[in-house]
């Protein structure tokens, strides 16, 4: 039991925010306690890798404890259950899904959908399976209400871009981002991306894949809504050179679910640095279940439960961690769960919830996925390199944001793995003589098969697999989702986890602004395929089984989660409409900070981790100032 008076700061969660803040505080000589709900960071990643190799479902969660195989684990009996793709597939069965999701819409309306993203509850957090994409917001992203008149005044970020720019530099150097300012330069005119004079990324850029090259050379004369379409190398938190004791990226094409060699930064890297200061203590398998508020409105402690055995856990006694200041860094859903669980007679709506915004405005970069095949003989050799090395960023900002969502377009290097589950589906098609892939024979949507499906063996099989799979590629439009109070995380009153704690209940759907983003994303993706000369295969009309399936204006769509959970404790200047200030400090409780992408007032289009990390540096400075 740690000495209750020892710590300057108590942090809940050992992920990206917890690790960065702990390192910053410890470097300044402060003593830090981290409570991590899940398993410890393993001494090496072999155990997680073996889980990945042996799991028939190569979903983002597949390597991590508790390891879900064929969804046989009941969240009601686990110590630290979390949302999973298998849970999403089985979303109507609370013995298989941790999140209590809205029922399927009989009319396939986009206004009610299950929330499609997941996260981990382990040391190192969800950065174990982040992609590494390290894009900065652009200035207009912070001013959606002022610039485009949408989402209301609370959508404006309470932070100046100049300040964020400096924080990005710190985050990029802590993460180790590989990119080139010169290569990003065309985005200044396109979307207003600027860097301070003389700024350099810490590592040289990741080179473009053959898939990237094919898209880049194909779209040179394409314009969408008055904006030029062009491909930009993606700044990435993965090594383009040896970095400390971590190797250079070897292109394992597996950033998600797990980088086998830790060439990609994850929070465990920074957490180790923090632990090496000997100023930081982590208690693993310690689930925070109560934020205690004193009579003066200050937080007086964090209640937590330790556990043994993930399934049917043995609970330790209720304990309390005490410090001078407190930081919640448990991510957008678990932060909310903790604040709402901490309700008392004096604070019936939960802690830090004067605004009643805790849990509201849940957002994701909902993905419009599409896929295509290059012409015969034009092999682009996917399934090689990092999962993604470039994207189309030039459409991320424009006047259309007054009417519809913007999006960025991620170019995938993993063929049709995401869209249809290849190479498995196509290989099985050619052995079984079936055509689930639409590649045996090649049958794009709306066309008739040119013959019957072949069953192949020997060299014929190898050549057919080679021909089809080396021509595949896909695009994913990450669509900016509008903040809506009704997209919400609350506590389910009926279903609990294995520690007896309530589980998150989700209300979620897409508004018309976001759906119009889907409509545009579909048109743009098809225009890109046409410009390249590729044959598009995107077709959701026979995929009503997908969790995110919806219909709009007679067209079938599917919304996929990007793994980007945002907005649930948004920052702002007004304590009546926001939960935290620009330092992520609670408006209600002076010694409480609530961190992570839950603080984003809007989600814009970039993958959130870099901005999460940048804001953690601002929070660290704010904590240090409060301690002095």
């Amino acid at each position: 039991m740690p000495d209750a008076t020892t710590y300057d700061v108590v942090i809940v969660g050992a992920g990206v925010c917890g690790a960065i803040i702990a390192l910053q505080l410890a470097t300044a000589g402060k003593r830090v306690l981290i409570l991590e709900a899940g398993a410890a960071v393993p001494a090496n990643r072999n155990e997680y890798l073996t889980n990945f190799y042996l799991n028939p479902d190569k979903n983002p969660e597949s390597p991590y404890p508790p390891v879900p195989v064929n969804s046989n684990l009941d969240p009601g009996h686990q110590a630290t259950p979390r949302p999973t793709i298998l849970g999403l597939i089985n979303r109507t069965d609370p013995t298989k899904t941790y999140l209590i999701q809205p029922p399927p819409s009989p009319t396939h309306s986009p206004s009610s959908l299950p929330f499609g993203s997941t996260y981990e509850r382990i040391g190192g957090g969800t950065t174990w399976h982040w992609l590494g994409t390290s894009l900065r917001l652009v200035p207009n992203d912070l001013q959606m209400y002022t610039k485009y008149g949408v989402f209301g005044p609370a959508a404006n970020w309470p932070i100046a871009y100049d300040e964020l720019e400096g924080l990005y530099g710190k985050a990029e150097h802590e993460i180790g981002v590989s990119a080139s300012v010169r290569q990003q330069q065309p985005l200044q005119a396109a979307i207003g991306l600027v860097y301070p004079p003389g700024y350099q990324y810490p590592m040289q850029p990741i080179p473009l894949s053959m898939v990237d090259q094919a898209v880049s050379s194909g779209v040179t004369s394409l314009n969408i809504d008055g904006k030029a379409v062009f491909v930009s190398p993606t700044p990435a938190g993965r090594n383009s050179q040896p970095n400390g004791n971590r190797p250079t990226c070897a292109g394992n094409t597996n950033c998600i679910p797990i980088c086998p060699i830790q060439a990609k930064w994850d929070a465990a890297v920074t957490l180790n640095k923090a632990l090496n200061t000997r100023k930081v203590t982590v208690i693993y398998q310690a689930v925070a279940n109560q934020v205690l508020v004193g009579p003066d409105g200050n937080i007086s402690g964090i209640g937590y439960i330790t556990w043994q055995n993930e399934n049917n856990p043995t609970k330790g006694p209720q304990q309390v961690a005490r410090g001078t200041l407190y930081v919640l860094a448990a991510h957008a859903v678990e932060n909310v769960k903790l604040l709402l669980m901490s309700a008392t007679n004096a604070l019936p709506n939960g802690v830090a919830n004067h605004s009643l915004q805790v849990g509201c405005n849940l957002m994701d970069h909902t993905i419009y996925l599409s896929w295509a095949l290059m012409p015969e003989g034009r092999q682009i050799f996917p399934y090689r390199g990092p999962l993604s090395t470039s994207g189309i960023e030039s459409l991320r900002d424009g006047p259309y944001r007054s009417k519809r969502s913007a999006y960025r377009i991620e170019i995938g290097n993993e063929g049709w793995n995401f869209p249809i589950g290849d190479p498995y589906v196509t290989v099985l098609d050619f052995i079984n003589g079936t055509n689930n892939s639409k590649l045996n024979p090649i049958t794009p949507p709306g066309s008739k098969p040119s013959g019957s499906s072949e069953c192949l063996a020997g060299v014929d099989l190898a050549l057919a697999v080679n021909d089809r799979l080396t021509r595949q590629f896909r695009l994913g439009c990450l669509i900016e989702q509008a903040p809506m109070a009704s997209n919400r995380v609350t506590l389910d009153k009926k279903f609990t986890d294995g520690l007896g704690l309530p589980r998150p209940k989700i209300s979620y759907g897409l508004d018309d602004y976001t759906v119009q983003g889907f409509v545009s994303a579909r048109q743009t993706s098809s225009a890109i395929y046409k410009a390249i000369g590729a044959t598009e295969f995107t077709d959701f009309s026979d995929r009503q089984f997908l969790a995110g399936y919806f219909e709009y204006a007679g067209v079938s769509y599917a919304s996929f989660g990007a793994g980007h959970l945002m907005g649930t404790h948004r920052m702002g200047t007004d304590k009546d409409t926001s939960v935290v200030d620009s330092s992520q400090r609670s408006h209600d409780h002076p010694n409480l900070w609530i961190t992570g992408s839950g603080s984003f007032p809007t989600c814009a289009t970039p993958n959130p981790t870099l901005t999460i990390a940048a804001l953690a540096f601002k929070t660290s400075a704010s904590l240090l100032a409060a301690l002095h």
Binding site: M210, N252, R384, N417, P423, A457, G458, V459, L469
Partner: protein, 165 residues
């Protein structure tokens, strides 16, 4: 050579022909993955050793009769038959395992078993794509910028004259 060793060698040679890869890839001299004994044991356990022996005999007989490798593979997988018998289905399951590292108990099995970590890593589908298993790259930084080595370099047993012959 013992009967067991002979049986294993025959299984390896048969696997090479059925998959379209060279024996150097399926059964390398220095073999860190040991997939031949693994898959023989898997096939015995799942399909029955007697049926595996029947397959091996069929392979030896076709080979002795002078059939081409492609003819042998097509015959044994009964590729022209939409409703093949148990013997051809076992041959197909063995090919799926070599390609994907997983055992599929039937043509419609959608919850296969990954045979082992090495089985995933050794999947021939990745070589047929001139790539590597997702999560196991033997290549080095930047390899993705240029075309991969040839299909023959990846061990596909191309007929004389190469890929387009």
């Amino acid at each position: 050579m013992s009967d067991d060793a002979t049986r294993q060698t025959n299984f390896a040679n048969m696997s090479a022909v059925l998959t379209g890869f060279t024996t150097d890839v399926v059964n390398p001299l220095f073999d860190p993955l040991q997939l031949v004994p693994t898959y023989l044991a898997t096939a015995d356990a799942k399909g029955g050793a007697a049926l595996v022996d029947t397959l091996i005999q069929q392979f030896l007989s076709l080979t002795a009769g002078g059939a081409s490798k492609q003819q042998i593979a097509d015959t044994m997988l009964d590729t022209g038959n939409p409703t093949p018998g148990n013997q051809a289905l076992l041959a197909r399951a063995i090919v799926k395992t070599w390609y994907l590292g997983s055992w599929y108990s039937s043509p419609t099995d959608n919850s296969p078993t990954v045979v082992s970590q090495n089985a995933y890593i050794g999947g021939l589908a990745w070589k047929a794509m001139q790539a590597h298993p997702m999560g196991f790259s033997d290549f080095t930084f930047g390899y993705w910028v240029t075309p991969p080595p040839s299909l023959a370099d990846f061990g596909v047993d191309l007929p004389p004259g190469g890929q387009n012959a």
